[in-house]
Amino acid sequence: MKKAQMNAGQNGSEKKDDTLKSDDINTPQNVLSEPPRTQMLNRLWEFQQSKGFISDSDISTLAREYDLSVIEVEGVVSFYHFFHRTPAGKFTIYLNNSMTSELKGFRRMLEAFEHETGAVAGSVDPTGTFGLFLTPCIGLCDQEPAALINFYPFTNLNTLKIRSVITKLKKGVPVSKICDHPDSHIRYTSTKDEGVFFREFNPGDTLLKLSRMGPEGVIDVMRDSKLAGRGGAFYPTWMKWQAAAEEEKKPKVVICNADEGEPGTFKDRVLMNEVPETMIEGMIACGYTIGAEYGFIYLRGEYRWLKAKIDKALDLYREKGFLGRHCGGISGFHFDIRVQMGAGSYVCGEETAMIESLEGKRGEPRTKWFFPVQKGYLQLPTVVNNVETFCAAARVIQMGVKEYTRYGLPKSPGTKLISVSGDCRLPGIYEIEWGMTLKELLDLCEADDPWYIQESGPSGTVLGLEDMNRPIAMFGDMFTQHIRCGGAVTIFNKRRDITQILMNYANFYTSESCGICTPCRAGNFIIQRKLEHLQNGLADADDLEDLRKWSFLIRNTSRCGLGKTANNSLVIALDKFADYFTDHITPSDKVQNRKFDLESATHEYESYKD
């Protein structure tokens, strides 16, 4: 608590504090001395939302305000794919083109949208009413095909529904009136009592306990609960919090990573929709532990429809005095939170890229010269944790370690949220206890003839029938090969084409790479070209070997996790489904002629025959 008091003192605003309203004091501009540039994304969103695009004069205005060159602002705008430089239509439609969407009829939906709106994918119709764009996973894999119209969700689409929606929009019905309210689809919670994540929770439940526990107490509880980063890296939460607590530099920052971009993952969406309070209290607990002054929720642009709900929860917390000055009644602990909208970029889920983005820059991951707990947001000590981690942290404090560790395995206590989608009858959220086997999970969701299972999204691994009895756990023992699941299981049955799946992922990484390092920018592009070759039936055994070698090369040399994991699935699939690939390549015959499609290569020239 002493730390927290010192913070306030260091801001030099201690004296003025009492004369001002609490709202005025706890803005990040005051507390963190944020430079104006950090507002860049918000300003760009304002322009984008009000006019449907960002004009040259908007860019010059921002450049003048922030004292930047125009090219720097343009660099930021062009990085995020929800920002447009030309009018994007009165109604901007983003149709999801992720793999689950492809399974559920993406092509037909695209045709239907094109037919109904008169816009061609990637452009605006001649009247300027509808803009039709494609976007990777929007976190609604349990109710695909899905699209966002002016960032309102429309789920379980079919051609009739599309026709009726577009007709209504043409008649002038507001989007907010006809949009869907995505179901959370919580299909299963642990059989013991109420589970962990969705049990009853009253705002303030954990706050009273905090001052009793003290910062050290919270760290102890985190250590005993063995809570580890639920974004998928499983870095022990207590170690991160302790490292940040030990940093002497003030003020400190807490960031909640709600940029759930990994295709196939939607657990954070459900958590924020159902229990945003636990996320907020997890952040408060972290802030209290490390002595932070301010928190950010970096919410992905695709989840804009959740923003109102989170803002409402934050307001409630402020009203009750759980946020702001002497938050939760803990004297000297001043903490507030705001939501920052992302603007369409997968790589911003990487913590340092997220920090850059919060600072109003391009979301390029930093080098590992410093860790965020040393120099993060505005070079201040920063803790970045996933939504689920904060929710779990709040639950651990609420339930107590003893109750929490009743769930799961001794080495991996607790439960885990898994987003299940693809070929199964019951897609949705499964709160499993660590230790459940893959087969049990697939039985629960009534998977249809599972054959190829994508675990933890494209950057995770591929599982097959031989993995059915492996337990899902954070830390296994010596005898079982556990599956370390980051939160998504996407099921594909035997009728699905593996090359199509891998191609979808390759396209995703080629366009989502931030472009800063060579292996990820160029390498993923090269892999995509090579997979095209495979898809066209032109590859031979050497090409498969190239794919394997080049994937390792990209993994070994990339700058951040995106490049390092982009080709995980590819490499594993090449091994696990070797038979499939042998069937799909051209055998090298004795003259070693590569298959080359002469007909398609001369096709264009043939059009001059007349």
Partner: protein, 423 residues
């Protein structure tokens, strides 16, 4: 005084300053780690090009963004790492459209130099031929996006006097490019502009009137090299032995016959050649068809039409070993300049919209007897399996002959730096 720590580089121990980046540390101790984005005064280092990838405490990592700490182990020159770094530079050549013979920066280019130093003969990756623009809009500079390797140097180094950026990344993914702010560029002093050109490791930033200032012989990399030949000795499947006569076939596909001309430049060794080999299907003999099986087929040029493809396939069927000679055969070379533009546009520009067209003759030629143009120019290796590549434009006569002798009779040889360096 700075604290010192013990580190191990390739098994040797060194006492070095703590916290310094490993590229500098290695350099200070006489160990060369290749790097393209690294600049000693940019702190912290950029870590964008990744060509300094080493093994740090057993794990792959970039040397430039890793600090020296007590007990650190650094592996630099293992076969695996050398190949990894080479692959990264090859990747840059495959990603960009680097046409060295027509580049103002040739001889002053860090990327080109790195290619030579690492002994790159060809890129293992297919060239991507992405359509990129050349930006002539600024007053003084030309931004050649085809040559940019996105190292970030200019972005973080070039500022106007009042601290505004002149360059910045635009877009992302494979669309990433470095954009120029025309307004700020105009405010740079001439010296600052030239500095921007000089810090660019390739020829992406060119200041008009300054690019060819240095004559051949005085360019940055005309003389510099720390090597005379290359460590990597070409492997031969045959054991050296008596030279039995062999049969050679040669062909020029989409090439200029320059590689064939180069072969004739071999002077007195021609006498050797006549005794040791006979030419079958080849422009030298004017045999139109194969009359017997060849030991080796020498291919010049890539494939730009269906006839090239058929000829190349015949060569594959009739030769034991196929060798791509020269850039055009290896990756497409000069004819592949059209790969950045769709075929239709090329034809229309050449035959329909061309100002020198005769009146009434504006039609794209098409006849059953004419070879059909492919959608783009293909490297030979994209169509048949190629066993060896001999780079150069054209390759040196000695170089070709040595390589052929090595392949046919297992004769050992080394490529001299002077034979390998063409500009």
């Amino acid at each position: 005084m700075a604290k010192h720590v013990n580190i191990t580089i390739d098994g040797r121990s060194f006492l070095v300053e703590e916290g310094k980046n490993l590229v500098t540390v290695a350099q200070e101790n006489g160990i060369f780690i290749p790097s393209l984005c690294y600049f000693d005064h940019i702190d912290p280092p950029l870590g964008t090009c990744r060509t300094c990838t080493c093994k740090i405490n057993g794990k792959f990592g970039p040397a430039c963004t890793t600090k020296a700490t007590e007990g650190l182990t650094l592996e630099v020159n293992t076969e695996e790492l050398k190949d990894t770094r080479k692959a990264l530079v090859e990747m840059m050549f495959a990603e960009g459209n680097h046409i060295c013979p027509s580049c103002e920066k040739s001889g002053n280019c860090d990327l080109q130099h790195m290619g030579y130093e690492l002994g790159i003969t060809h890129s293992r990756f297919p060239h991507l031929f992405k359509d990129r623009m050349i930006d002539y809009n600024s007053k003084r500079m030309v931004m050649e996006h085809n040559r940019c390797i996105k190292c970030l140097r200019c972005v973080v180094e070039v500022f106007t006097d009042d601290g505004k950026r002149v360059f910045n990344y635009q877009c992302r993914g494979n669309e990433t490019y470095v954009g120029v702010d025309y307004e700020q560029e105009a405010r740079l002093t001439h010296e600052q502009a030239v500095n921007a050109m000089n810090i660019c490791p390739t020829g992406a930033i060119i200041v008009r009137g300054e690019s060819m200032a240095k004559p051949f012989g005085d360019r940055k990399f005309d003389q510099t090299s720390h090597r005379e030949d290359f460590d990597e000795k070409p492997k031969s499947t045959r054991k050296p032995g008596k030279k039995t006569p062999k049969v050679i076939g040669t062909v020029s596909l989409a090439g200029c016959f320059g590689c064939h001309m180069s072969l004739l430049d071999i002077d007195t060794e021609l006498l050797d050649i006549v005794q040791l080999v006979s030419f079958n299907k080849s422009p030298f003999t004017d045999f139109k068809e194969f009359t017997k099986r060849c030991d080796i087929g020498i291919i010049e040029g890539g494939c730009c039409n269906d006839e090239n493809v058929e000829t190349l396939r015949k060569f594959r069927e009739n030769c034991d070993v196929l060798v791509s000679v020269g850039e055009c055969a290896i990756w497409g070379g000069l004819p592949s300049l059209r790969n950045m533009v769709p075929l239709g546009e090329c034809l229309e520009e050449a035959y329909l919209n061309c100002v020198t067209n005769e009146v009434g003759s504006n039609v794209v030629p098409y006849d059953e007897d004419l070879p059909k143009l492919l959608d783009r120019v293909y490297a030979c290796s994209e169509i048949v399996k190629i066993d060896y590549n001999i780079p150069g434009c054209p390759p040196d006569a000695q170089h070709i002959w040595k390589a052929v002798k090595n392949i046919l009779w297992g004769e050992e040889y080394s490529v001299l730096y002077s034979e390998f360096k063409y500009d």
